[in-house]
């Protein structure tokens, strides 16, 4: 079996063949999702809990649909409204949940490393649905699947990730994944939104969009994460749009068949022009959402297989 992980905490832990294994299986789930009967019994009898310590509509819905299509019993917990407000620590929450015997735990948390911490304390498979500014592995995987299907390959591509790199877990997971699959990655954005010494990770850093987009195959735009900013990273949204927002003029520097991606939700008129986002010849943003469900089904399927194999070999203590 190519996929050997107990959890999906980040792209950093994955080997290239494991990434490929997820994407190959996800391709099959795309077909299932497009068919008339979207239901499978793969996760029959398993319990999936979605714990979101941070607001999310899209990712949570995507994980929920993925779990339900695979036949799992899915429960959503909105943790902001829950015991976290009563002073319960993350560890206590984990132990409480553990006692309910979940099999798959999907976690989003505002602090980097929080999902790793939780994974150390529970007996089930944990999927990171985004931790602080650290990683968002399923987003990188769905981006990879989208690119592979649009470009026919996932190697030797020139890919520009543009905008608010500093606050983006999507950017971190993507640059690790795309690097592992042997692509050339460029980061484009204002220096105030660029993490320190990021150039040491085998990426090229640009401060100018025209230069950064020159001859790329893929343009990945990032959302300007105003909610994570403590002020003063950019002078104004209109100046940001002027210098870094993706419009037809800037996109003209990329290859003529370059695709445009965005993890959503989009700020139209801030990081991306509405017409580009909606251009079905360039934008694959809707495909990304579709691939998201398939990739999450694949990841949960593979983790569940490992979990069940592990339990068969070593029965859990009661």
């Amino acid at each position: 079996m190519a996929f050997r992980q107990r959890h999906l905490l980040g792209i950093e832990q994955l080997r290239p063949e494991e990434i490929t294994a997820i994407l190959d299986l996800a391709d099959q789930y795309v077909d299932l999702n497009r068919g008339a009967n979207k239901h499978s019994e793969t996760l029959q009898g398993l319990t999936q809990i979605n714990m979101f310590f941070e607001n999310s509509t899209r990712t949570q819905a995507s994980f929920e649909i993925a779990g339900k299509r695979l036949g799992a019993d899915v429960m959503n917990m909105a943790m902001q409204a829950s015991s976290i407000k009563k002073g319960e620590t993350l560890i206590d929450t984990a132990l409480t949940l553990n006692a309910m015997h979940p099999d798959l735990l999907v976690v989003r948390h505002p602090h980097s490393g929080a999902v790793d911490l939780l994974a150390q304390k529970v007996n089930c498979a944990v999927l990171n649905a985004g931790d602080g500014k650290h990683e968002h592995p399923t987003q990188a995987l769905l981006d990879a699947l989208t690119i592979r299907r649009a470009k026919g390959r996932l190697h030797r591509l020139n890919i520009a990730i543009c905008g608010d790199i500093a606050h983006s877990r999507v950017a971190r997971s993507n640059l690790i994944l795309l690097g592992k699959m042997e692509n050339r990655v460029r980061l484009v954005g204002p220096p105030t939104l660029m993490p320190s010494q990021i150039d040491q990770f085998g990426v090229e850093v640009y401060e100018d969009m025209a230069e950064g987009l020159k001859d790329v195959d893929v343009v990945m735009m990032l959302r300007l994460q105003r909610e994570r900013m403590d002020g003063g990273f950019i002078p104004s949204e209109r100046e940001y749009y002027h210098r870094y927002g993706l419009d037809a003029a800037k996109l003209s520097h990329a290859k003529p068949d370059a695709i445009v991606m965005h993890p959503g939700p989009m700020n139209r008129g801030i990081e991306i022009d509405g017409e580009i986002a909606d251009d079905i010849n360039r934008s694959v943003i809707q495909e990304q959402v579709e691939m998201g469900v398939a990739v999450r089904m694949a990841a949960m399927d593979l983790l569940a297989r490992n979990l069940l194999a592990e339990r068969a070999n070593a029965p859990m203590e009661v």
């Binding site: 560890i91 948390h109 602090h111 980097s112 490393g113 911490l117 877990r169 993490p195 990770f201």
Partner: protein, 425 residues
């Protein structure tokens, strides 16, 4: 009572020597020291078997969590940890809850220390009331009550006018001020040093430059006020030229660093291990090496443990939310032995930084192996290997970054005023 320690490897930080010899203790002070001494007939004789005998460590900046958080560390447990670690004098921090910012609290602390701790305790007091950086404390009364230095600890006084007044007043009394050089605006909310590691882990960061900016400001204030100043921790190479200039200009300035910044770097945090979260955050390997050089040259005067107990609840949190600090009274010596075994610092150099210089800076009699000095001593085996087990620590809190690590250097006995306060069985 007379005690004769024969055949010891004498680590003398004043003479910078490391020679085999004997040492005679009479009435709690060092009566004789040298080669081939004759033991008085009434003396108890201890054969040191060639192990190291050095002045006991004087540790500036120990947090004992009394008053306020005795569940984290008490004078009793801190004292036991100090004795087991070869620390004969704890210079305690005032960042307790409430802070030690008035003579009454200071007297309470000294009473508790005398009742419970087997080693010397000399307290520091806060420089401003409530450590909130606005009004200075009763520096005169606090000195009368026994405060040896004044510090708001890691809380930087950002109101420069209030700080300058406190410094001017402290100068008039000859009080030593210990500050935490850091630009508070830049370091706000930081959990890691900016750079490759923090970028990968997505942690909120502070530029190493914040330390230099803080030190630059403080050096200007020292020039302005003439106060006796000690920087608690210098941890970055970029801050060193400012320190060197201040010393060259003849200002009364010294600097310290923590054992963690000398022996660990930012990469040790690895997968968000919160026991490695200290303040300021661990630095790059380049910085670590330059700071070791600065200790060797004497530019950095003092090495301390920055002993900061934290309970499990404060540490078992996401890295950003976890409390900073590490216990280190017992691990200071074995961690320092890493620098000795790596041939980065000699034993006399280490004890200059851990015993002699702190004594000089605070005007204490210890820290020396000379005749007439108090017999505060540590006998240790610099080579003995062991694997660190945090649950064997005497401290109530077990938050050491060295848990599970291979170390060398075991304390065999600790003497305070000639009395053994610790003996390894």
């Amino acid at each position: 009572m007379t005690l004769f320690l024969r055949n010891a490897r004498l680590i003398d930080p004043e003479q910078q020597t490391d020679l085999i010899g004997d040492l005679l203790i009479k009435d709690g002070v060092i009566a004789e020291v040298g080669e081939n001494l004759r033991a008085p007939s009434d003396a108890e004789i201890i054969d040191c078997a060639g192990k190291c005998l050095a002045p006991g460590i004087i540790d500036i900046g120990v947090k004992v969590c009394e008053p306020g958080e005795r569940h984290k560390e008490s004078y009793k447990t801190a004292g036991l940890a100090a004795a087991a670690g070869g620390v004969t004098t704890m210079v305690t921090r005032p960042d307790t809850t409430p802070p030690i910012d008035n003579p009454e609290t200071l007297e309470f602390v000294l009473r508790r220390a005398n009742e419970a701790a087997p080693v010397n305790v000399v307290p520091m007091a806060a420089l401003t009331k409530g450590r909130d950086g606005r009004e200075m404390t009763e520096i005169g009364f606090l000195m009368d009550a026994g405060a040896v230095a004044f510090s708001d600890c890691d809380s930087v006084i950002s109101e420069t006018k209030a700080f300058s007044r406190a410094l001017t007043y402290a100068r008039s009394l000859g009080a030593l001020v210990i500050a935490h050089p850091q630009e508070p605006g830049l370091s706000k909310g930081a959990a890691a040093t900016s750079g490759k590691f923090a970028s990968l882990r997505g942690l909120p960061t502070v530029s190493p430059m914040a330390e230099r900016m803080g030190l630059d400001r403080d050096m200007a204030l020292v020039e302005m006020t003439g106060v006796k100043y000690h920087a608690d921790q210098i941890t970055t190479a970029r801050a060193l030229p400012a320190l060197e200039r201040a010393k060259a200009n003849g200002f009364d300035v010294t600097a310290g660093t923590s054992i963690h910044h000398l022996t660990l770097n930012e990469m040790d945090v690895a997968d968000y291990r919160t026991f490695f979260k200290v303040k300021p955050p661990l630095r790059s390997e380049d910085d670590r090496l330059e700071i070791i050089d600065a200790v060797k040259s004497g530019l950095i005067d003092i090495v301390c443990s920055m002993h900061t107990p934290q309970d499990e609840e404060s540490k078992r949190l996401p890295f950003e939310e976890a409390a900073a600090g590490a216990v280190a009274l017992e691990t200071l010596l074995p961690a320092a032995m890493r620098l000795y075994h790596a041939e980065q610092l000699t034993l006399p150099e280490l004890f200059r930084a851990m015993a002699l210089n702190p004594a000089k800076r605070l005007g204490l009699a210890g820290g020396r192996l000379s005749v007439g000095a108090p017999a505060d001593l540590v006998l240790f085996d610099a080579d003995a290997p062991f694997v660190m087990d945090r649950f064997k620590l005497q401290s109530k809190s077990k938050n050491t970054p060295f848990d599970g690590q291979r170390m060398q250097g075991k304390v065999l006995a600790t003497y305070v005023a000639g009395q053994a306060v610790y003996r390894r069985d």
